[in-house]
């Protein structure tokens, strides 16, 4: 542990003491970051304390309410929290994607206004990116923002707006110049209560509605809500996508979430049974479980290596480019294996005869299919690897 000098260890003591005093034990292993309803009781207390301390966004600058910690200190805080089962109650798109982007590209006024409520977990953000005709080809977006002097008048339709039905604000890519594809896009912010916004939840194949269609009709967006230069939104939008992909591929991201539950070998022993030597009885299934577990191990090792390399100041590791595809594959494979292991019992949709964990598994399996589509599909990720990392050209 080369960079553990005297001072960082002092921080560990500070973090431990603060947590001992401020973490309500009833919140052990409770994940508040993605909850929709306003927290009450201990949950409210925990969220307020972390928000006020700025430790929900530990490395963000103190001047905007963040924790102002160094990466080393933030890791220590994370370790101390993990030690006692404390989950970060501050989360969502504001923390994972929009905040870091605004800190980089926003004006001083915009940062003063929007960052502190994210730090305190008060404002929920949603993402107005994809459109029916602009999915993988995001820059083909058509939602139009006309210059009306003191404001933009926005018209169009967004789709896959995560959590739009619960969101307070939206960060949105709009077309401000129809004659230039990438250089005609701007990055704007608007309050979801602005007149002219209609949100319709989309039901997915797992029965849930985490995404919406968002219709924008003559929505007035004040000029002060333009982030970065006019027609300069593509660069900012792409930067935000990098934050999104990082959050989707990490152990705590979607890949990790869909991989929750019992270890597969244990599951298989329960549902399939064991042979005389105590191994999973179905040899074909057993082999595929082993292969999957080994791939998962390789993915976790790569996460650790990439973290170590970027920490060692060598800049972002090449390995980060593979994380989203590798992570989503691990998650999807796991879910399919779990469903297969449980047989018909793993396909329960509702009603009697199924454990809660079984019903959840089938929904996770179906929901996890989105991980290779959203945040840049697997195909787009492979294009990025081929072009940017490997230097392969489009056919000329």
């Amino acid at each position: 542990m080369p960079d553990f000098g005297g001072e960082p260890e002092a921080f560990r003591v500070e973090a431990r003491e603060w947590l001992a005093e401020n973490f309500p034990p009833s919140m052990k292993n409770v994940d508040l970051a993605m909850t929709v309803d306003a927290p009450t009781g201990d949950a409210k207390l925990w969220k307020e304390r972390m928000g006020a301390k700025g430790w929900g966004t530990p490395t963000w600058p103190k001047v905007y309410g963040g924790g102002g910690l160094t990466p080393a200190e933030a890791r220590m805080l994370q370790q101390e929290m993990a030690r006692i089962g404390a989950r970060n109650p501050i989360g969502g798109m504001g923390v994972m994607m929009f905040g870091p982007t605004l800190l980089e590209y926003g004006s001083e006024e915009q940062k003063q206004r929007h960052i502190p409520p994210i730090v305190r977990g008060e404002i929920r953000w949603c993402q107005g990116y994809s459109e029916p005709g602009a999915g993988s080809d995001l820059a083909a977006l058509q939602t139009k923002a006309e210059d009306k002097g003191d404001h933009f008048l926005v018209n169009g339709q967004k789709v896959w707006t995560s959590g739009a039905q619960y969101a307070d604000w939206c960060f949105c890519l709009v077309r401000t110049d129809p004659n230039h594809k990438h250089e005609g896009i701007s990055f704007v912010l608007f309050d979801m209560k602005t007149p002219g916004i209609e949100v319709r939840p989309i039901k997915l194949i797992n029965g849930y509605s985490p995404f919406c269609e968002t219709f924008l009709t003559d929505v007035k967006v004040p000029k002060e809500n333009l982030v970065g230069p006019l027609n300069g939104g593509w660069t900012i939008g792409k930067r935000l996508l990098q934050h999104e992909r990082n959050s989707l591929s990490g152990g705590g991201g979607s890949a990790g979430r869909f991989a929750a539950g019992k270890p597969l070998d244990q599951l298989a022993k329960e549902y399939v049974g064991v042979d005389e030597e105590g191994r999973v009885a179905d040899p074909d299934l057993r082999t595929r479980i082993i292969r999957h577990q080994m791939e998962t191990k390789a993915f976790m090792l790569t996460l650790m290596r990439a973290a170590a390399e970027s920490k060692g100041n060598q800049g972002p590791s090449n390995a980060t480019s593979i994380m989203k595809n590798a992570g989503s594959k691990v998650g999807q494979d796991r879910a399919e294996l779990a469903v297969e292991i449980m047989g018909s019992q793993g396909l329960g949709w509702e009603g009697p005869g199924f454990e809660a964990a079984e019903l959840e598994q089938v929904r996770n399996w179906l929901g996890g299919k989105a991980t290779t589509i959203y945040g840049g599909s697997a195909e787009i990720q492979n294009n990025i690897i081929a072009k940017r990392i490997l230097g392969l050209l489009d056919h000329q």
Binding site: W160, K203, I205, Y271, R288, Y374
Partner: protein, 378 residues
């Protein structure tokens, strides 16, 4: 495509036309969304029966057409294309086969004409756990003065909510895991002591869990030979499995064609996405798998029609190949459609859910691979 005779061509074409007109995927969706209590539309099944599809493997003497298994497979493939829910596999194929192969004249006369007309629904009650394993049958059948007394449970019984007759695998002797001692019984759904409860699976069909509490049956309820029912059960299951494989083939073909249409029409980056080689090659791979799978399914159906010695192996190959191919195609259907493929309003998810349910029924892909290997002496 197998070389079809005139009857078979007519049968396939009439099934194709009927599906197109009367049973597009939207019909299945309506059935699902109205939570039809049986897990299929009885009026639609009555139409199928009127066209003779419920009697395709039943002898003419008992009201069927005896066109054979390849013929019924053609119908099932067309049904699979648009996810038609019906008791064709459970009743008209599986239960009918068991009765034809193992039934006494009295048993056949009582049930086959009704099954052929679609007036009665019969089904197998085999599995007692979430994973298919017929030899593990434990449901107890005790000898009484007049016959037998059955006590135990069955689960994931296909069309179990609609069935008028259950063909129950029970144990008259021996231990779970042994073939010897398994006996098949005909148990009417209204038998005293029998109760059923629906099991809602992701594919929205009418599965049931059965409970048998001292169900009293006469000796004439035994189908085939007491203690020696395992062979008849296995032959019956193989006929059901190849029917499942035919449905899976039909689903795969449709899922592929729908996806191919999308590749040809969806525009991104100023061109149809089907112009990208990365996607072209994946489509070509799916096409290849479909062709291989069709050969396996048709060979297994033909093996049954010819009573070939290698039928069990042919069936294991067909079910395993159809399982792998359907998973590949239904996964790609979602992925290649992108976000729209994740929505409940799109058909892709319906194929994906049904694919898993069919795989789990009467032996998974892994189970059939292992079975194939053992039969081949590996």
């Amino acid at each position: 495509m197998a070389v079809l005779n005139e009857e078979q061509t007519m049968l396939r074409d009439s099934a194709r036309d009927w599906v197109r007109e009367k049973a597009p995927v939207g019909a299945f969706r309506r059935m699902r969304d109205t939570a039809a209590p049986l897990g299929y539309d009885p009026a639609a099944f009555a139409e199928m029966a009127q066209m003779g599809w419920a009697g395709v493997v039943i002898p003419e003497a008992f009201g069927g057409s005896e066109f054979g298994y390849l013929s019924l497979g053609l119908v099932l493939e067309e049904m699979g294309r648009t996810l038609v829910a019906s008791p064709l596999i459970a009743s008209s194929l599986a239960a009918a086969s068991a009765l034809v192969m193992g039934g006494s004249e009295t048993q056949k006369s009582e049930w086959l004409p009704k099954i052929a007309m679609g007036e009665a629904v019969a089904t197998l009650a085999v599995d007692e756990g979430p994973r298919h394993d017929p030899l593990r049958t434990a449901l107890k059948a005790e000898k009484t003065g007049a016959g037998y007394k059955l006590t135990g449970a069955k689960t994931f019984v296909l069309e179990g909510m609609a069935a008028d007759l259950f063909i129950v695998a029970a144990r008259t002797s021996g231990q779970p895991g042994e073939a010897k001692g398994i006996t098949l019984f005909l148990v009417p759904a209204d038998a005293k002591g029998l109760s059923r409860e629906q099991r809602h699976l992701a594919d929205s069909r009418g599965y049931a869990a059965l409970n048998l509490d001292e169900v009293e049956l006469g000796s004439n309820a035994v189908l085939g030979e007491a203690d020696n029912g395992a062979d008849l059960l296995e032959k019956t299951l193989d006929r059901a499995r190849v029917g499942l494989a035919a449905e899976m083939l039909g689903m795969s073909v449709q899922a592929f064609e729908t996806t191919l249409d999308y590749l040809k029409t969806r525009v991104q980056f100023g061109q149809t996405i089907g112009s990208f080689q990365a996607l072209q090659h994946r489509a070509a791979k799916m096409f290849t798998e479909l062709e291989l799978t069709r050969s396996c399914v048709e060979a297994a159906l033909t093996a049954i029609d010819n009573d070939a010695a290698d039928t069990p192996q042919a069936v294991a190959l067909a079910k395993a190949a159809a399982g792998d191919t359907l998973h590949l195609v239904s996964r790609e259907m979602v992925q290649m459609h992108g976000g729209i493929g994740m929505t409940d309003a799109h058909d892709a998810g319906l194929y994906m859910k049904r694919a898993r349910a069919l795989e789990a029924t009467y032996g998974s892909t892994a189970w059939h691979r292992d079975r194939w290997g053992r039969m081949a002496g590996y």
